[in-house]
């Protein structure tokens, strides 16, 4: 049997191919395959990364615009929610305040009240007056007592149809007839330039002490009795003085006064002509 050179070459190639296939299927060529494919895969990975980068670069402006729009939308939403939170907090504070005022009104059922908002203060720093948003159109009259959920605030000194001016008990010209409990000592509660309250005209033998409560006595006819005004903080008793003096902490925080109640069914008695024929309040 004799093969031509051409057939012999084909036979050798076929044997080599079959041999390589057999080696490959047997796993003998794996290290060689790994070594040969590694550079190819590395080049392919680099090309894929480059393509992704170029694609991202080309699509970037569109994404930024979308993000900006979304950001604006979210900012607007946050702003709206923040406004809502503030409004709700204000409503909550107002509801708490009104609830306290309602409690006060329930505790004193003998009085009729008209709620009013504090809209301003006297422009002169020498005076302690507030301006409220209710006036003669709402039935308010000069002299009507004004209270808050905590206690006594003052009384109305001037009224126009839709507003009224209230003299606070801390005003320098304010004097309220009070009774100190539990000793039932009568005294006069006076204001000062600094807004501090003090008790005047307290008899030397009266036994008052820090912690005693100060309530309106009803004397003088300006305020109804038993409205809490403050608490005694300290007492000063001088042997040569005619009266004792006492510092009083007001129960009302006059700097944060927002809503007040006007007692509309109380008719004040003006005893000024009997007690002080000359001079008057501003």
């Amino acid at each position: 049997m004799k093969f031509s050179p051409r057939t012999l070459r084909a036979l050798v190639i076929a044997l080599v191919v079959v041999g390589l296939l057999a080696l490959s299927l047997g796993g003998y060529l794996t290290p060689l395959t790994r070594l040969s494919t590694q550079p190819v895969l590395a080049v392919q990975a680099w090309l894929a990364r480059a393509y992704a980068g170029i694609r991202a670069y080309l699509n970037a402006p569109k994404d930024v615009n979308t993000l900006r729009a979304e950001n604006q939308q979210l900012k607007a939403e946050v702003s709206r929610l923040q406004t809502e939170v503030v409004t709700l907090q204000q409503q909550l504070a107002e509801a708490e305040l009104l609830s306290a005022l309602l409690d006060f009104a329930r505790a004193h059922p003998q009085n009729e009240y008209k709620a009013a908002q504090v809209i301003g203060r006297d422009p002169s720093p020498f005076l302690h007056y507030i301006i409220i948003n209710r006036g003669s159109d709402d039935g308010l009259r000069v002299g009507m007592p004004v209270v808050s959920a905590e206690g006594l605030v003052g009384h109305i000194t001037a009224v126009i149809p839709n507003a009224a001016r209230v003299q606070l008990i801390t005003d320098t010209d304010s004097a309220v007839d009070v009774v100190v409990q539990p000793t039932h000592t009568n005294a006069v509660l006076v204001g000062s330039l600094t807004g501090e309250l003090s008790l005047d005209m307290v008899a030397l033998d009266a036994k008052i002490k820090p912690g005693d409560l100060v309530l309106t006595s009803g004397l003088g006819g300006r305020y109804p009795p038993n409205i809490l005004a403050g608490q005694v903080v300290s007492v000063r008793k001088l042997s040569y003085a005619l009266f004792q003096e006492a510092a009083v902490q007001p129960v009302v925080d006059f700097r944060r006064l927002q809503i007040v109640l006007v007692i509309v069914n109380f008719r004040p008695v003006d005893v000024t002509p009997l007690t002080r024929p000359q001079g008057g309040t501003p």
Binding site: I119, G120, R121, D122, P123, S124, P125, F126, L127, Y129, I131, T157, A158, R165, Q167, T172, D173, S192, L193, T194, G195, R255, G279, G280, T281, P282
Partner: protein, 168 residues
């Protein structure tokens, strides 16, 4: 038009004074925004100076206050009078002149209020306590607020008198 807007600005200043600035205290003192607005108006060289502004401002504040209205008219009248005097005497009103008007105006308005309360109403207001607790703190607050009020009024005047601004 400028006069009408001046009226609006004064009314706004009065409302701000009662609702906001009367609540901002330094000891017992408070800034007087109406006085500052009035002084800035009078010291602006383009604004028409007249006694009417002082009277109007006094009436507005006097309506809100428990003090008599004529006290404020008199106090603001002092501010207006002194400002107009400085405008006549000085070649060009400066910020320093405005400060001087605010200083003297504050002392005049507070002094008149104290004098009325002390000697007419006979309120217990010792001079030392009034000075330390009210007058000096109010003066300090007025001087602190003077710069922003002056700048605002200057902007506002430039808006209303643009032609005169160009002429200069």
């Amino acid at each position: 038009m400028a006069s009408l807007s001046g009226l609006v600005v004064l009314a706004l200043a009065t409302a701000l004074q009662s609702a906001v600035f009367s609540r901002i205290h330094l000891l017992q003192g408070a800034a007087d925004v109406v006085l500052l607005t009035l002084a800035a108006w009078y010291m602006h060289e383009d604004a028409p100076a007249s006694w009417v502004w002082a009277v109007l401002a006094g009436l507005m504040v006097g309506t809100l206050s428990a003090l008599p209205w004529w006290l404020f008219v008199a106090g603001y009248g002092v501010v207006g009078g002194f400002a107009m005097l400085l405008r006549r005497k000085l070649w060009q009103p400066s910020f320093f002149a405005f400060f001087t008007v605010v200083l003297l105006g504050t002392l005049a308005t507070q002094g008149l209020s104290w004098g009325y309360l002390r000697f007419v109403v006979r309120s217990p207001l010792p001079l030392g306590e009034a000075l330390n607790r009210v007058v000096f703190p109010s003066l300090l607050l007025n001087l602190l607020f003077a710069l922003p009020v002056y700048s605002l009024m200057d902007e506002w005047a430039a808006w209303f008198f643009p032609n005169r601004e160009v002429e200069r």
